[in-house]
Symmetry: C3
Subunit: 440 residues, 3 copies
């Protein structure tokens, strides 16, 4: 332990203070403490983002039918594994290439992850706020969320193998490449586009692919018929609620960690804007659904909560707390109409992922152009960013899903779908011993 610390601090010319400290050593203790608290906060943020993956898993499982539960849990467990490993293999170095090799659009600094040489590299990294390893893992936890968003939208009929291949490519290549445009210092960053924690870079990136997936797959069997829509009920709303609360919890790390230090003023402001936006999203969706649907709908207020969170993500550090509540409240209204709208046009998204992550991701990004306290942020630049991400992600997702569809198919057979993916794909049931009505 002592040896390790010595090694760590000696390299930057510091000697760890022991019993009688001189001035220089004391200086090092103060700097070391600052560095340690920043890094510790980033690690806390990392495990908070991690737990969002459980939130997505229970949210999606609860909003779909019991016969497809194992499949959803399998997908969400796989996604975090695939996400972390591909990010270690190539994603991290695609997203933060250092130098770009094709304009400001694409760069790659090599396969694998390795801390910069010696202790100095470890510490001096990131303006002394956190280590190389912290940076990698925090960003890796983000990466996997993009694929998770897709998972919910394509649930109950996508072929497992095709989905896993899609995830590997989308998280390993597409997400980091478009991510580099802004967070890696690429062309959109240089243009002044702003996306604090990823309304566009994470949520819309997932949302665009979800849209493509849903369109290429088509709706679930029996969902739409001549002249009507048959609702397919979620089988477990406590799981959905657990998911939404865990996602909100994780968002404290998603947004709070995006400050990239433990800066007290900024992190606490972000906690407040994030929470008020979520709260306002709930109330916005509650009022809207109570009026529009006559009954107060639980799944709508839960989606309203997520909508508020997605909406505030782009500008959580740059709007007032009052603006945050407005942004969240509007997101809560939007999501209700959006869910109804997509159902009308027969875009079958079982969990409302497109409405929450894509539509509200766009809203949040544009809201920066409206509400930001920073005069450098402009609505037009935000719009350009949204459009650029949309174009690239639509094209990429179409290429991958389309390719898979042509080569190996992306949808299970009708028999498998009726039987449920749990039995057909996995040969097991989620609730052994319980009687479940098969709704088809």
């Amino acid at each position: 332990m002592v040896k390790k610390l010595l090694c760590l601090f000696f390299a930057v010319g510091f000697v760890l203070a022991q019993s009688t400290v001189g001035f220089a050593e004391e200086a090092s203790v103060a700097a070391q403490a600052m560095f340690t608290v920043n890094n510790t906060w980033m690690l806390v943020a990392t495990f908070l983002v991690f737990i969002m993956h459980l939130g997505f898993a229970t949210l999606e499982a609860g909003l779909t039918q019991a016969k497809n539960t194992v499949n959803i849990l399998f997908k969400n467990t796989s996604i975090i594994a695939i996400g972390l490993l591909t990010y270690a293999i190539c994603g991290f170095n695609l997203m933060y290439p250092g130098d770009f090799s094709i304009g400001q659009f694409f760069g790659f600094s090599g396969f694998g992850i390795a801390s910069p040489e010696g202790a100095a590299g470890l510490i001096e990294y990131a303006d002394g706020n956190y280590t190389y390893w912290t940076d990698f893992l925090f960003q890796a936890m983000f990466a996997a969320t993009a694929a998770t968003i897709v998972s919910g939208a394509v649930a109950e009929r996508i072929k497992l193998s095709s989905f896993l291949i899609f995830t590997t490519i989308y998280v390993g290549l597409v997400y980091p490449i478009v991510g580099s445009w802004k967070w890696g210092g690429g062309w959109l960053d240089q243009m002044g586009f702003y996306d604090f924690a990823g309304s566009t870079l994470v949520h819309s990136v997932g949302g665009w692919a979800a849209l493509v997936g849903v369109i290429l797959l088509g709706p679930r069997l029996g969902k739409y018929f001549k002249g009507g829509i048959r609702p397919i009920l979620g089988h477990n709303l406590p799981l959905v609620t657990i998911g939404v609360f865990l996602l909100w919890l994780g968002w404290f790390g998603f947004n709070g960690g995006s400050v990239l230090s433990a800066d007290p003023g900024l992190v606490s402001l972000v906690f407040v804007t994030t929470s008020l936006a979520a709260a306002a999203g709930i109330i916005g969706a509650m009022i809207t659904s109570w009026i529009a649907q006559k009954k107060p709908d639980l799944t709508m207020i839960l989606n309203g909560c997520l909508a508020g969170l997605v909406g505030i993500t782009a500008g959580a550090d740059t709007v007032t707390v009052c603006s945050a509540a407005i942004i969240g409240g509007i997101a809560g209204v939007i999501v209700v109409f959006s869910v109804i709208f997509f159902d009308r046009i027969k875009i079958d998204d079982p969990v409302g992922a497109i409405s929450v992550h894509l539509v509200c991701g766009i809203w949040g990004t544009l809201a920066v152009g409206i509400f930001s306290t920073n005069p450098d942020h402009s609505f037009m630049t935000q719009l350009i960013g949204v459009a650029a991400y949309g174009a690239f992600c639509l094209a990429s997702a179409f290429a991958i899903f389309g390719g898979l569809k042509a080569v190996m198919g992306i949808r299970v057979t009708e028999i498998e779908e009726r039987q449920g993916l749990d039995i057909s794909e996995h040969g097991m049931e989620a609730y052994g011993g319980f009687q479940i009505f098969t709704t088809q």
Copy 2:
């Protein structure tokens, strides 16, 4: 202090001192690090208290019938939203008014929240331990818990709209006004009343309203009949267990954050007293229920855990670890007899909220007068505090619930109750596709 301010805020782009630091800068780095770690701990405590709301949601949902699950999840999701927004609008400034305008009983420093002018205000706030925003959000998370306690007790028969109005008034006005008496520096604080983290200020405030609500509503249909009590089974005990563990987890922030800094000695002591009280509460309830009920009852040991946690909350920082275990163990015994007692006198509390939060809240507050290591704490003063909160909360809750009962009714119709609130109030089921026996 001045240096600290200058340093932190002139420097959003502040570069951490590296090799050749001057004395003045170094001083500021040390103070800044101290401030940052304190604030970071308070933010961690904040998200821990947040997750208690999920704990309450799953606890209450699990202890009631499947046909009322959506309703409970809806209420608990709404409460956190209402709690945060009302606390931002008026609660925070009612609870911490600065100056009181009516004796030491009532004060209000205006609508809305806004950080004190400039960076200096942000930092100098709270003895340099955390920012204005951190303070607001930590306290706001507390506020909503009071209403959540009521939610469980009145479950399965309260009218949704009436409950939401009650919550808004109780959390937005009653909780902060009585809170100001102690934590806002009011008359009970000046009298020497002690309540570290809220056995009385939070738990009994919720508990008194729960008692009023249950009395005004009456028992659930079929619960009591001539000569007997018909148990109405909770539909999902894994959800209950998840709830209790999440509540314990959250209590590390509830009590640990009430130190109001990351003070190593105090926070770690509070972690230990809190945990040993919870553990002893489990064992106390286990032995009591095994003897009194012949069989070891899972819901009793879970309530025993919560009883221990509520019991230690008033004195977690001012009793020895041994006293903490005794306080928790006694709370575990009390809760079993209390649950049985309220059932005997036909006070129908589906989740045992009155026993856990009110009875053990009182016990915990009085226990400070018995076990505190601080000679300034007196049993009589604690008793006065308990009585004062009881009187005001009973009167307030009676006024609000009574008024709502007169104006719009507080109970659903008999048909709606038999059908379940999920269908009658929300038009949806919690477990679509599963066969559920309706127990009435």
Copy 3:
């Protein structure tokens, strides 16, 4: 607050910096900040390890039959209570005796816990990294996990009272005594045996007892019949998934906290090795199960995740991130074959605890001898450690379980087992109102 801090730091000769700070005072603030951040991280790690107990509870409940759910939840809630209290009474002082009284095998520094005299003792403890109370609680949270591992393996047929007595003895005496051999500075520590966070000290200690328990109990009724194995389905795979994700979350504290400070380089490295091992465990088990069982099995990838986590635990701070992925991936392969193997030889372990915790605990411990970057670590020493723990734990568990079997029996009657332990032991059901098929 200021008074408190003064009191705390004055005792070690520090004066809290006020407005115009001199050199000496500033020094104290820097040291205080360093101490506070280290202690705060250890407290965060403590609550993360705490939440693992919820993870175990839901994992075990989900993998077994609905009729035994209350029993499992009861056991897991009891274990944390028993674990914390016995550790306070004697465990902590058995595990860290200071001086050994029988060779380097056994020592005991007295009953009960008490912080060293005064503030100096509190602070100077543990090289100034955390307080006495933090140390106690972090270690106490570990202690209970050993018994939890047993709980899953013996589920669905063990007698509650016997299990609780076993737990009390095993956690209160056996775990801390063998723990002292390494972490208490005993003979294996002096020999150079390495176990960073407990692949052997925690996981195999639980695993050996699980093996003994399963052998002495025999398989569940109807599990094995002439010429075949009848799978007994887990009743709730969402609960299992929740459990695994919560365990992974907790592992950030289990491994990350085992650094015993907030050291940025080491803690962040441990986060990365832990996560990549878990991810690789998922992928390893996925490929293995897809090939060996034809279908991709959800419970196998979830066990693969845990296998990777257990596997990396012994060497998380001393292997490269690439080695971590290899260790985890191999653990994921091992666990699939191990589960199949134990089923073949009629060792009926309903949750796969022996495969995950014992087999992969051994693998992880030996892997330190293969992959460690520290040349002092040797495969042979690791093997000696594994064998020593195995011998002592097998003997102890056999003595306790065997004694209980002789005196009061350890297995419920056949009628009770068929009826389910929820009704027979607790007189209640986990899912009141749902129709459950009894699978026997």
